[in-house]
Amino acid sequence: MRTNSLSPVQKVLLTGLIVIAVAWVLFPFYWAFVNSIKKPADTFRSVWIPWVQFQPTLDHWRQELDTPEIRRALRNSTVISVGAATLSVALGTLAAYALARFRFNRPDNSFFTTWFLSQRVMPPVVVVIPFFLIMRQVRLLDSVWALVLLNATFLLPFPVIILSQMFRELPIELEEASLVDGASRLQAFFRVALPLVVPGLVATWIICMAFSWNEFLFALSLTSNKAIPMPVIIAGAEHTRGVQFWFVGVRTMLTMLPPTIFALLAQRYIIRGLTLGAVKG
């Protein structure tokens, strides 16, 4: 961190820059929010400050939350993201521990790591067709469980990479001591190592939830009615509703709020997560 002092002019310029950057980042959120509480007539006027420039209303929020399709979509999105995140973190934690604490030969540890990472390289559109055909065959089309399975697959690299780093950072002596005391490998894992990575584990789980909440391509391809989650609802919305700014506002907020709140909760681990462990923020 450079601490060389700035001239007053530089200080002002820098502050201005920060203000612009923050305004640019926050504008869409505010735009969605402000439209969601405007009466339809007010959405056609450039007014920005509730109570001062216009009288806000919660009618659209109420209407949307009373719509059965929206409630179902919110429920589906919740099941999909909790299910997929839990499944991938469970599978991923075990694999992460294996990569951190055991040495494999032919193929070796770094092969497995690369292999898990390569999952992120593959464009999902490559496998969406086979998934569609397979799910049709096993009658899992339009089922939230199909999406739980697929999202878990594509999330798997995150828990594997992030948690194997965390296990490596733990002093191995603790586990060795418990092994000497007669604990089995499994006990050493569950009673000693696992409790120590709980903060990272929870953060990874939250990040995974946010990712699968946002997932769109698989959801669009594999749902048609009862399993439709929020992102698919929103993608088809302008055709049924026309462009009604107030509904766009509410639906955007309903879709974006959960993952952005998750992201804030897991903030400390976001950089690590998004760079797949290469950079620690």
Binding site: F102, P130, I172, F189
Partner: protein, 304 residues
């Protein structure tokens, strides 16, 4: 460098950990995830490969056509369009994100108040549902009374046909992508900058190096691996683009924003031409793998 390649890599490069004796338990920890990936990635990939040798009618496998589906890749003008749109998208968005994100990180890499709040704000776009951003974009870029055109008109300009013109629609989708991912470049470069060793700077400053010299001969070389890594990650993700153009413009007007993934999606699930769609998928996979291999080679060189 070549001398290093001849001998086996020194032990220090190996993963630091495994001090525990070898036993079979490790395989049991690893097996579930490995089986899972084989089942849900390798198997579907092989299935896609199998399908790519067949023609489909009404979504049903029809007859073996050999490499015909791959041959069609080279003559299909719509596929070329999808490829072009995607390549421009990747080129423009990743360049802008890298320049602005890293530039901002350089400027803000200093002691200041409110750093944590700034970081929290910058995290928000990364997890704003992309498909919802595209949907919201319909109103932001709304041509008659959207906020952008309203502002332009208030300043005396003319409204821009953000979504109805084939020239501007790609720009609109790129703006949304840049909005979403520049903060990522910013946050990761900032983390990288703050991890640089301070004593090197101090030593150079004592020796009377200028700010520009510090940047050229310390910051850039030390940051290079991180920057290449960010570039790699952003390119991989940008090639997959699907959500924003789908909800913002549905690929239109015409095919102006019909990115590769959207075109393949339509081939498969609107026209049910699964064989051809599989071939398209493999072409995209090949392109991305090609780029990853080149960049990855560069990165591992730098990390050594």
């Amino acid at each position: 460098m070549s001398a290093q390649l001849d001998s086996p890599p020194p032990a220090a490069i190996e993963p630091v950990t495994p001090r525990v004796r070898k036993d079979r338990t490790g395989a049991w920890f690893l097996a579930p995830a490995v089986v899972w990936i084989i089942l849900f990635t390798i198997f579907p990939l092989l299935f896609a490969l199998y399908n790519s040798f067949y023609s489909f009618r009404f979504g049903q496998r029809n007859q073996f056509v050999g490499l015909d589906n791959f041959g069609r890749l080279f003559t299909d003008p719509n596929l070329r369009n999808g490829l072009q749109v995607t390549l421009w998208f990747v080129l423009v968005t990743v360049t802008v994100e890298m320049l602005v994100g890293f530039g901002l990180a350089l400027l803000l890499n200093r002691e200041m108040q409110g750093k944590n709040i700034l970081r929290a704000i910058m995290v928000l776009p990364l997890f704003a549902t992309p498909v919802a951003m595209g949907y919201l974009g319909i109103t932001i870029f709304f041509e008659t009374n959207g906020p952008i055109n309203d502002t332009i008109r208030a300043l005396g300009g003319q409204g821009i046909p953000w979504l109805s013109s084939p020239k501007w629609a790609p720009v609109s989708m790129m703006i949304l992508e840049v909005w979403q991912w520049t903060p990522f470049v910013f946050l990761v470069s900032l983390a990288g900058l703050q991890g640089l060793p301070q004593d090197v700077y101090e030593a150079a400053e004592v020796d009377g190096a200028s700010g520009r010299q510090l940047f050229r001969s310390i910051t850039m070389p030390l940051m290079a691996p991180t920057l290449w890594l960010i570039l790699l990650l952003r390119m991989i993700e940008a090639f997959k683009v699907f959500d924003i153009p789908t909800s913002l413009t549905s690929g239109g007007p015409g095919r102006a924003t019909e990115v590769y993934s959207l075109f393949t999606y339509r081939t498969a699930l609107r026209f049910f031409d699964h064989g051809y769609a599989a071939a398209q998928g493999f072409l995209l996979l090949f392109i991305v793998m090609f780029i990853v291999t080149i960049l990855y080679g560069r990165i591992s060189e730098l990390y050594e």
